[in-house]
Symmetry: C2
Subunit: 251 residues, 2 copies
């Protein structure tokens, strides 16, 4: 089970790259970037088991036995998950299914979106001057499921990161209702670490009028956002200080 | 500003390794592992600016101008921070100092301890069956500073990770006082991802009687801990499924 990070293949860990290169079968989420998938050797079988996979969708109840059956065939299976496998994925359920089937699991962590967004925007998620805590939560709910519980989030010294914010107008309302200040700085970032990355820095109150950004996106709320280097709708993909080009020769 | 991850050099990102290899000067924390430092080329000047650096300690007020002055000399400076640079470090303050001096900054994220510990213990930090949220906080306080504020932490569907727990007896008391159940599963992990890694899985109530573990350590509290593969005091460093040996030839 390998974390693919936010999208930029250079943000894979060395261990993740090694595992990617050695898998017989790679099962990946819809959000894993094309740039990361390009690193899988041609000899491996690659399956998109993402929940957003075009017309024919696959459920979690189908993915679990698929993992087990490839393993039973003696294949080295790489389960590639965007970000980190154990944050806002279904990592726990897949691990349980594999344990029940006596399949050996190794988990390779990945750079999660909150941390990648903070680096891109140059926001310290915690900072003794502004923020003591970091709270990560997801606004994504299955259809018919309850809204996220925003209670207890009114602490101005907590940085809040909302994964998969979707309709951020409702989130802004929920956070303000929970007691957060409408003037609290916040930032929407979309397609973190990819060339298409874009971001808006605004306030909770004004967030209601912001357009939706392409998924995957992320919302960061808290005083530290005020220090962000990114300004409104600034494309932020930067070349590193050194001007080596081409991802391949650096990997 | 480069995240060194939890210690295992294979948990560096590809970008972090590239930056490490190209720096003229490397300033690192005391917690950056010897294995990671071994990847710095011999041509680079390496300085330990960790707060625990033996007899002669350096303050944040001394580190900031040091970074600026190396940059002013035209040096490519790598500021290497254990874990991720923007979580529980002084990343924000160093970025501010560098911006004020008009020094270009690039931030390379790192695998933070919470995520690395979850992978090692096979705990899903969020899991729709047990935990909707993840809260990261630090128990580390400068001498004379107030205790961390444990209020509002009594949500049983939040996984809580305490960085640098130090005296975990007090933390257990504080968390129980905040409303958490004394029977809540929790886990102490020390030296995550290194060969010396060790862990205890216990309950908040029983945590008071556990011995201190060597720093750096981490405390995870929440229902998901019950699913951990690690049991009490089990050394968990595992060889990956493939039996290639030697870190060097894999990097």
């Amino acid at each position: 089970m390998v974390g693919a990070g936010p999208g930029d293949p250079e943000l894979l860990t060395l261990k993740a790259l090694n595992r990617l290169r050695s898998g017989d079968v790679v099962l990946h989420d819809a959000l894993v970037s094309a740039e990361v998938l390009a690193l899988v050797p041609l000899s491996a079988r690659v399956l998109n088991v993402g929940k957003r996979c075009g017309r024919k969708c696959i459920t979690q109840q189908e993915i679990n036995p698929l993992l087990v059956s490839f393993a039973a065939e003696g294949k080295l299976v790489v389960r590639l998950k965007s970000g980190d496998p154990l944050l806002f994925g279904r990592g726990g359920e897949e691990i349980d299914a594999l344990r029940q089937a006596d399949v050996d699991v190794e988990i390779v962590p990945g750079i999660t979106a909150a941390v990648a967004a903070a680096s891109a925007a140059e926001i310290s998620l915690t900072d003794r001057r502004y923020a003591d805590r970091l709270l990560l939560l997801s606004a994504h709910r299955a259809p018919g499921k309850a809204e996220p519980d925003w209670r207890g989030l009114s602490d101005s010294r907590t940085t809040i990161v909302v994964y998969m914010p979707g309709d951020h107008k409702n989130i802004a309302k929920g956070l303000i209702r929970s007691g957060l200040n409408g003037q609290a700085p916040c930032m929407l970032i979309s397609k973190i670490s990819l060339p298409e990355q874009q971001s808006f820095k605004t306030t909770l109150e004004a967030l209601r009028h912001m357009p939706l950004l392409p998924a995957p996106s992320l919302l960061i709320v808290g005083e530290t956002v005020a220090t962000a280097r990114l300004t409104e709708h600034q494309p932020v993909y930067r070349q590193p200080p050194q001007t080596k080009t081409g991802t391949e020769n650096r990997l």
